[in-house]
């Protein structure tokens, strides 16, 4: 019996012990390569996350919001998406950005402080990570409305957390998506904590049940079960493409690290809780399952470890050698069209900086 709080409604295809189970409504059939791919994605995302956390500790990044423990919810949902679908992530969705093909160093550039963004969203069909809680969920709905206007079969996935469900924007997004029957999947990772506040300070009802009040289905899934997340997200995306409108998925998971590197979770939660969730680790359970099925072996896992080492090296070297932008770059792309104030103030900064050169200071 799962004691995570997932409950009987929670869809599971892989138990915390790595045992494959069937579900009456959701099935998933993957090739061995796809299975190995999921394990690879999650393992490499965890390494990326660990490297970024370490780099922050060394003063190389200003901040990092770890996705430790949420790899299955992110990788499983993002792998369910088609290339032409569009993801709208928060600042914690490194696993989503990874699956969408965003280069690791691009994910770290904003936290390094060299850009306010990091990647071309249209290239990866993955919006910039959004920090204001809940804003991006409306963007996912608006984009989905555009898909409808185009008569296209694309869909969007709007990511957010349990804390964001208190935000007006998320509730407005639910209303708009329902009213316009927009092809959007609401992917809520309930990681149990909104910084220091537990989920029961965010809601009095299970989050997935809220969907009914807005007029579309809500499904709870074991967010640490990559297979179940993928199966449920595929189902929701198919509904969207078929013109059946939005679905809310509550991926029941756990934020195993601090909210960000600036946070100290020992002030508000018990070590025993973390330990209990460690026993439900998303990567460990998939690895056990795939080993038992003979889909991966020690040679594969050693190769993966080697690949993770190389990724870590690339990230460490890449972050440290990331060039600072030129000061005048802050004036670029503020406006699309010529703007006299921007031009004048760029010249003002240039002149000011040049005065130091003339004085031999720089």
């Amino acid at each position: 019996m799962d004691d995570s709080g997932l409950g009987a409604a929670g869809v599971q295809l892989l138990t915390a012990q790595g045992e494959r189970v069937e579900h009456p409504d959701f099935s998933l059939s993957l090739t061995n390569d796809e299975c190995r791919g999921l394990l690879r994605d999650m393992t490499l995302v965890r390494r990326l996350d660990a490297e970024a956390t370490a780099l922050q500790r060394q003063g190389e990044l200003g901040l990092w919001a770890s996705c430790l423990g949420q790899e299955a919810a992110q990788v499983g949902s993002a792998r369910a998406m088609a290339a032409s679908d569009y993801a709208f992530p928060t600042y914690r969705e490194h696993g989503v950005a990874w699956v969408r093909g965003v280069p690791p160093l691009d994910m770290l550039a904003m936290l390094r402080g060299v850009t306010n963004g990091g990647w071309d969203p249209n290239r990866y069909r993955c919006a910039p990570s959004t920090i204001v809680i809940g804003n991006q969920v409306l963007h996912a709905v608006g984009y989905a409305m555009g898909i409808q206007l185009d008569g296209s079969q694309d869909a969007t996935v709007g990511y957010f957390g349990d804390g964001a469900t208190a935000q007006g924007d998320v509730n407005e997004a639910f209303v708009f998506a329902a009213v316009f029957n927009a092809p959007v999947v609401f992917l809520c990772q309930n990681n149990q904590w909104a910084i220091s506040q537990p989920a029961d300070r965010q809601t009095r009802t299970p989050l997935f049940e809220r969907a009914a009040g807005f007029g579309f289905p809500g499904i709870r899934v074991d967010g640490n079960d990559v297979l179940a997340v993928m199966a449920v997200t595929r189902y929701a995306l198919e509904r969207a493409r078929a013109g059946d409108g939005p679905t809310l998925i509550e991926a029941y998971t756990y934020r195993m690290a601090a909210h960000t590197t600036s946070d100290d979770p020992t002030r508000y939660r018990e070590a025993a809780e973390l330990e209990a969730w460690r026993q439900r680790d998303p990567i460990e359970r998939l690895s056990i399952h795939l080993m038992a099925e003979g889909i991966v072996d020690d040679v594969f896992l050693e190769g993966l470890e080697q690949e993770a080492e190389e990724l870590g090296e690339l990230i460490r070297a890449g972050v440290r050698s990331m060039p600072d932008p030129e000061p005048r770059a802050m004036f670029d792309h503020v406006y699309a069209e010529r703007h006299p104030e921007i031009d004048a103030q760029r010249d003002e900064l240039d002149t000011y900086l040049a005065s130091f050169v003339e004085e031999g200071v720089r």
Partner: protein
């Protein structure tokens, strides 16, 4: 100059001119969509979008649920998808729920994505007082938006300017806060609809101020609803020759035009309905003192709304600058 039916320019209200401009924008670009509360079936509470849903369809003129942040947030997604949304905030006092999406997302996404994503969104807001409205229906929020990098702010003052600049705002690849002076919606004026607003060689630059009346003694800078008031004041002034400049663009402000005028008149009065503290007038006074310090014969004076919440409408005539208060401001700079 050919009009709608190939004849003379037409007399129409500002609301009608805006309607015609929106119609042209919808005809011009199939990616332009109108989105807002009650804009379709009803035609908008001020009828600015009257008939457009009937003529262009529910997929081009979209009635939104009653949620302003939702409207602007969804428009961000539409813009990422390649659409050019034109939004209506029903009243000035109702834009604040959307303030977060406007300043955090609309204003910043181009910069955040280094130009990969544009936000060609026009946000129409009926603003200002003078119509005897109830609480939250008479506000002048322009300074909030003018203060926000990444936004442009426009306000037309007559039907012709409305017809032209609404189309220019929509065509702009930058987000534009388009402030419509609601007390002037019913003012009639001549509209030459044969002009192509996107032909900048033939049409005035929307980001430039317009000198509407030449004068030699004092420059009066105004915009939106105060333009008519200031023109009336200038005409009423027999002793002092008043030059009236309509800013039209509140961000960026065309300071060169003000400087050129003040270099001749040496005196400046800035007039707006909005409260005084940290308003547009404060910024303009600072800029002109920087650039015209040795020319000025008097400090820059402001004639504005007071620093109080917009009063109940029985008192609004005392809050809003009128002809006499404008002339009082002129007297103060002349007698300094």
């Amino acid at each position: 100059m050919a009009g709608i039916d190939g004849n003379e320019p037409h007399q129409m209200t500002m609301a009608q001119a805006l309607n015609l401009g929106l119609r042209r924008a919808l005809e011009r670009d199939s990616k332009t969509v109108l989105f807002g509360e009650d804009i379709g079936r009803l035609g908008g509470v001020f009828r600015v979008t009257d008939g457009l849903q009937k003529d262009f369809g529910e997929h081009r003129v979209i009635d939104a649920p009653l949620a302003e942040s939702g409207i602007v947030g969804a428009a961000v997604g539409l813009a990422i998808r390649g659409y050019r949304p034109v939004l209506e905030m029903q009243f000035d006092g109702f834009v604040y729920p959307a303030f977060d999406q406007i300043v955090s997302q609309v204003a910043k996404l181009r910069r955040r994505t280094e130009g990969a994503i544009g936000m060609p969104i026009t946000i129409r807001i009926p603003y200002g007082g003078g119509i005897g409205a109830v609480e939250h229906h008479s506000e002048s929020p322009e300074a909030y938006f003018a203060h926000t990098p990444g936004l442009r702010v426009l306000s037309p003052s007559d039907p012709q300017a409305a017809f032209v600049t609404i189309q220019q705002a929509i065509a702009s690849d930058d987000p534009v806060i388009y402030l419509e002076p609601k007390r002037r919606y019913w003012d009639k004026g001549s509209v030459d609809d044969s002009v192509d607003p996107l032909d900048l060689a033939a049409t005035p630059d929307p980001w430039r101020a317009r000198t509407l009346r030449a004068g030699s003694d004092v420059t009066v800078v105004c915009y939106g609803p105060m333009v008519r008031t200031c023109l009336e004041a200038a005409r009423a002034s027999s002793e002092v020759s008043i030059e009236v400049i309509d800013l039209q663009s509140l961000s960026p402000v065309d300071y060169d035009a003000i400087v050129a005028s003040v270099e001749r008149t040496a005196r400046l009065v800035v007039v707006h309905e909005a409260s005084r503290n940290a308003g547009l007038g404060a910024e303009i006074a600072a800029r002109i003192s920087e650039r015209c310090f040795t020319v000025l014969e008097a400090p820059v004076m402001r004639v504005t709304g007071y620093d109080v919440p917009y009063p109940p409408n029985r008192l609004e005539e005392f809050f809003l600058p009128d002809l006499d208060r404008v002339l009082d401001g002129v007297d103060r700079v002349m007698s300094y």
